[in-house]
Amino acid sequence: MLLAIDTATGIVGAALHDGERVRAEVVHHDVRRHGELLAPAIQEALREAGIPAAELTAVVCGVGPGPFTGLRVGVVTALTLAHGLGLPTPQGICSLDALAHQVMGTHEGELLVATDARRREVYWAHYAVGPTDARRIAGPGVCADADLAEQLRTLPTVGRGAELYPDAFSGVALPDVRDVRPGALAELAVRLRAGDHPDAETALLPPEPLYLRRPDAVEMRR
């Protein structure tokens, strides 16, 4: 039983996947209380699926990019839970990959994922979406909306970036895909781990946040 968690966008949540299907998914829409909501969401998902934590066999987490504080809550939860259960080190997945995965079935062709990076910037990545998989062509990156190449900004877009900066993004916003659903992350993880995805070799990452930005701090001069 695989546990997937993601805290990179506007959803804090957890999903359980048995290799065939998502067995439970618990989500909260709250970008301020990751620390409070995530562990109870995992507990609730386990309860919903009717299995004890000891029956988990793998943990995966979205590693962003996303606002750092929430991102760290997800990653440290995955790491510590896996360690506590004696499981292998969790695998990370770029959270934007999960968003692109979520449009399959409703969209084919090029796609821009743009999420809220705060400070008037977006996290972005560029995908080619086919009938069975979404493949990242470029990114992830972080920049001001207007600094993103014109040919990317005019693509169909998912994530909250386009609705935050409607002037910059003229492509069609696909309305139902705004935040990472942990169930989608779980599905993608199961396929990647099974080698059932063209990017299986590269898309599984170490469990470390994709910060993309250095800490704001000024070194002291003497």
């Binding site: 109870p40 760290r72 440290v76 510590t80 259960l85 701090a217």
Partner: protein, 347 residues
């Protein structure tokens, strides 16, 4: 083996601490510090600290268990600093503790950092007298606490109204060209100096202040006075007597700290004073506190320096006391609270 085995996690500032305590016995205290990463910034950078906590968390838990010779599966409860402290840093520890509690199926205790500074002495000097007076001095806090029961009844008698004592040490060290963190460097420099060379101000000790701020502290004016004194010397083209400035500054700090702590003991009828926090490692503070406590008939307790600075053992020690006394565990949705009041011992 009836005594509870508790794993404690501390991440309120720049130390990732994981301690294992069984009952009142410390098994191991593992610390990973990011202080060197902060040194080049001249102070703790919250984002740098948070990143370091995340990287250090699992390795520090592993090391604590290995060195203590226990398996995680044997842990009876997990405790964690819920506040006060740096918000982002606290969150990493709290999330880790919740994950462990969830994974191991054991209770979780979100505890107050200041209470843990008091509770840690149990593993060094045995059960705490009730009540105990706590003087906590570090880069983040300067508090006088009346502690009838460290697991659920702590009363704040006073606190700094501006800088923490340790913060004043850091800032004065900077003025004197000494490295960060300033405490140990000032302590060392002061040994060569004359503590009565310069008469620096003692904050909040005048008649009216002793009415309104009887057990409060203030170190901001002292810090400014030191900076002005040094600037005046430099403006006159004279060398700065670093040792004398360090000794006189340090004396002003520890004089007020100990004077008010001993006064608080006498006025509240408390026979035991416990000093904790990083500044408790200061040799002059220990010496003067001992002298004044002896004179007033007060027993002084100071944990060894490694247990005075922030660490996981103190959180585990408090957690173990809570288990032993049958206190309720915390809920899994407990928040990290960067400004948690000291009266709130458990979240």
């Amino acid at each position: 083996m009836d005594e509870p085995l508790v794993l404690g996690i501390e991440t309120s500032c720049d130390e990732t601490g994981v301690g294992l305590v069984r009952g009142e016995t410390l098994l191991f205290d593992a610390i990973a510090s990011s202080v060197e990463e902060h040194a080049r910034f001249g102070g703790v950078v919250p984002e740098v600290a948070s990143r370091a906590h995340l990287e250090a968390m699992v390795p520090t838990i592993e090391r604590a268990c290995r060195e203590a010779g226990v398996r995680l599966a044997d842990v009876d409860a997990v405790s964690v600093t819920a506040g006060p402290g740096l918000a982002g840093a606290l969150l990493v520890g709290v999330a880790a503790a919740k994950a462990l509690s969830l994974g191991l199926g054991v209770p979780l205790y979100g505890v107050n950092h200041l209470a843990a500074h008091v509770a840690v002495d149990v593993v060094e000097h045995g059960p705490l007298p009730e009540p105990t007076m706590g003087l906590l001095v570090s880069g983040g806090h300067s508090n006088l606490l009346l502690v009838p029961d460290v697991t659920h009844d702590i009363r704040s008698l006073g606190a700094t109204i501006d800088d923490a004592a340790g913060e004043a040490f850091d800032k004065v060290a900077r003025v004197l060209g000494l490295p960060f963190p300033g405490g140990p460097h000032i302590d060392r420099a002061a040994r060569e100096g004359d503590q009565v060379a310069i008469d620096f101000p003692r904050g909040l000790t005048s008649g009216r202040d002793m009415e309104r701020h009887r057990f409060d502290y203030s170190f901001s004016g002292l810090k400014t006075a030191v900076a002005r004194w040094v600037q005046a010397r430099e403006a006159d083209g004279e060398p700065v007597p670093v040792a004398d400035v360090a000794a006189s500054f340090q004396e002003a700090v520890v004089d007020v700290l100990t004077r008010k702590a001993v006064l608080a003991c006498s006025e509240h009828g408390v026979d035991d004073l416990l000093i904790g926090g990083g500044v408790a490692a200061n040799s002059r503070l220990r010496a003067l506190a001992q002298e004044r406590c002896d004179r007033a008939g007060i027993r002084l307790r100071v944990p060894r320096p490694g247990l005075c600075t922030d660490n996981g053992a103190m959180v585990a020690a408090l957690g173990a006391q809570m288990v032993t006394r049958g206190r309720d565990a915390s809920r899994l949705d407990l928040p990290a609270d960067s400004s948690q009041p000291v009266e709130q011992v458990r979240s």
